[in-house]
Symmetry: C2
Subunit: 329 residues, 2 copies
């Protein structure tokens, strides 16, 4: 027995299909008594409007896609959770897409979804600017962990956060840092590097950079070895996963943390609190990033014409100090 349609409801209620349709979509166009009658019949039949038929005409699907650069990165859990929650609150469905650190995959997946979703939330997109602009021409887009003029975005306030990191390290007397850079096409990597560098200049520290590294724990060994070669006394890794991988390698090589070298990460993932020593890291309200991003997206997909405003939101960061940083012994 197929799902009942608006026709079945109309027949059972003795009204026209249009009346049934209006009872659901613009209730005040229909007499209250008729409406109640229709609702009760619909409930009896177990009628539910078919979202596809609806989307066909309206072009609105009540669905948004969230694309993340690497779904296995715990950092995204919170983002995903915030986004999912916000989407659900508006009865939107969240489609999750994993770009696997590949711009190609990312782009193809997005294009595949264009006809099916109302907009995109892109997390740490690895796509070049022009692609992003093009996609934004097809559907509303909100960037997370990336900024681009004329596109709305939500990021954590990294400039200030990086400054905090450098200050924190400087306070322990460190004079030479090295930044283990993230992927080449990562906006965050560029941003963090320049923020660290200028903070270093301001505070009179030398800041080197090596990389790029894929920000996973498994790439920490290569990163650690490279870092040691620079002679820096403090390592700032592109994210916590990389930092954890680095600390493992350092332990293997009997380099003590923080007595010989300090390590700092980004993201404050769950594991940062569990590893030994605990990882000092720059955290922030990641769930809020996801939430706010979807929030902005839903406004843009809303009935109002896109107002031309492209909010660029920067949420505060906080340096979570644990045991991986300290003075050299």
């Amino acid at each position: 027995m197929p799902r009942p349609t608006i026709y079945d409801v109309a027949a059972a209620a003795g009204v026209a299909t249009s009346t049934v349709s209006r009872a659901f979509s613009s209730p005040n166009r229909v007499n209250a008594r008729t409406r109640e009658h229709i609702f009760s019949i619909a409930a009896d039949l177990g009628y539910r409007p078919n979202p596809h038929a609806r989307a066909l005409l309206s072009g609105r699907h009540h669905t948004v896609a969230m694309v993340v650069s690497d779904i296995t990165n715990p950092h995204y859990f919170e983002l995903i959770r915030g986004a999912e929650l916000r989407a659900r609150a508006s009865e939107y469905t969240l489609v999750l897409v994993n770009a696997e650190e590949s711009p190609r995959v990312e782009y193809d997946q997005i294009q595949r979804l264009v006809p099916s979703v109302d907009g995109f939330v892109l997390g740490a997109s690895r796509l070049p600017d022009e692609n992003l602009v093009q996609i934004a021409g097809q559907r509303p887009v909100v960037l997370m962990s990336r900024e681009l003029s004329r596109l709305p975005s939500v990021v954590l306030e990294h400039t200030q956060g990086c400054h905090q990191i450098v200050e924190h390290l400087a306070s322990f007397g460190h004079q030479h840092l090295v930044y283990l850079a993230g992927p080449r096409n990562s906006w965050m990597a560029t941003t963090r590097w320049s923020a660290l560098k200028s903070a270093g200049e301001e505070l009179g520290l030398r800041v080197d950079r090596i990389g790029p590294f894929t920000p996973k724990a498994s790439h920490g060994a290569a990163a650690a070895d490279g870092a040691i070669r620079t002679g820096a006394t403090a390592i700032v890794a592109h994210n916590d996963l990389l930092a954890i991988g680095v600390m493992r390698r350092l332990a293997q090589r009997s380099v003590r943390v923080p007595q010989d070298v300090s390590v700092v990460g980004f993201d404050n993932i769950f594991a940062a609190d569990l590893c030994t020593p605990g990882l000092t890291t720059l955290g922030g309200a990641h769930a809020d990033v996801g939430r706010v991003a979807v929030d902005i997206l839903l406004q843009a997909t809303g009935p109002l014409q896109p107002s031309g405003a492209s909010p660029q939101v920067a949420l505060p960061t906080e340096l979570v100090v644990r045991e991986s940083t300290g003075a050299r012994a």
Copy 2:
């Protein structure tokens, strides 16, 4: 400028819309030269078939939904990843749904998605059996981490795994274990409990159970306190998160792991390797669970009539021994 439709392509190519449609959906019904012509025009125009219009008629959406009991549980990351990968390989879209440990939310979300997806993969569903059967009547369903006769499922082989755990603990001379149970309506909790219990009987160990506990690190404190009261020398927690929470609490209370008490978890999440001491846990190929589940689901949604076969797959587990287990000192 709206997306080009089949009509635009037909007009530009000088053929009927049906010809364009068939060129895409049943290519051998159309002359090769005409077909190529249509394809090139379509490419020029940037035409892509509208999946909703297609779904309207065919009822197939090329979308599957994955519902997880709690999206913040790292254990699901691998499941999600495996599922996403498998879905993508068949050009299916994966919709991710978070049930937040609430049967109500889970059910509502599923019902909302019924018209939009081809099937469901349910991870550790908290729904009662009859709900699951009912949902399976509407759309194909594959269960993960739960078994129910007549429904296909993918689980990790826990009976044997639990036996391994008990053997491992027995080999250290433990004679009294306590299982910190997961949520009341969790099939896994029931399964683990009975497997641990029968393994205990077989090997001559006393096995207690306390709980239920929400399997998050934050609930570890209550669980740890309860476990201590039982006087057991080994704690088997419902999952790694709970185990980690327990170990934290034990550290607070100056109970040494493993000298005073041993701790075992389930899932082998990333963090199990990072905490101190490293957590002994029952792992398995979680990504495979997600992959196989989607695989089965796609077969069931495929053109073949559901063959009545409901594969119940059990994948192997492996006990990952770290430092949280040992003999009492």
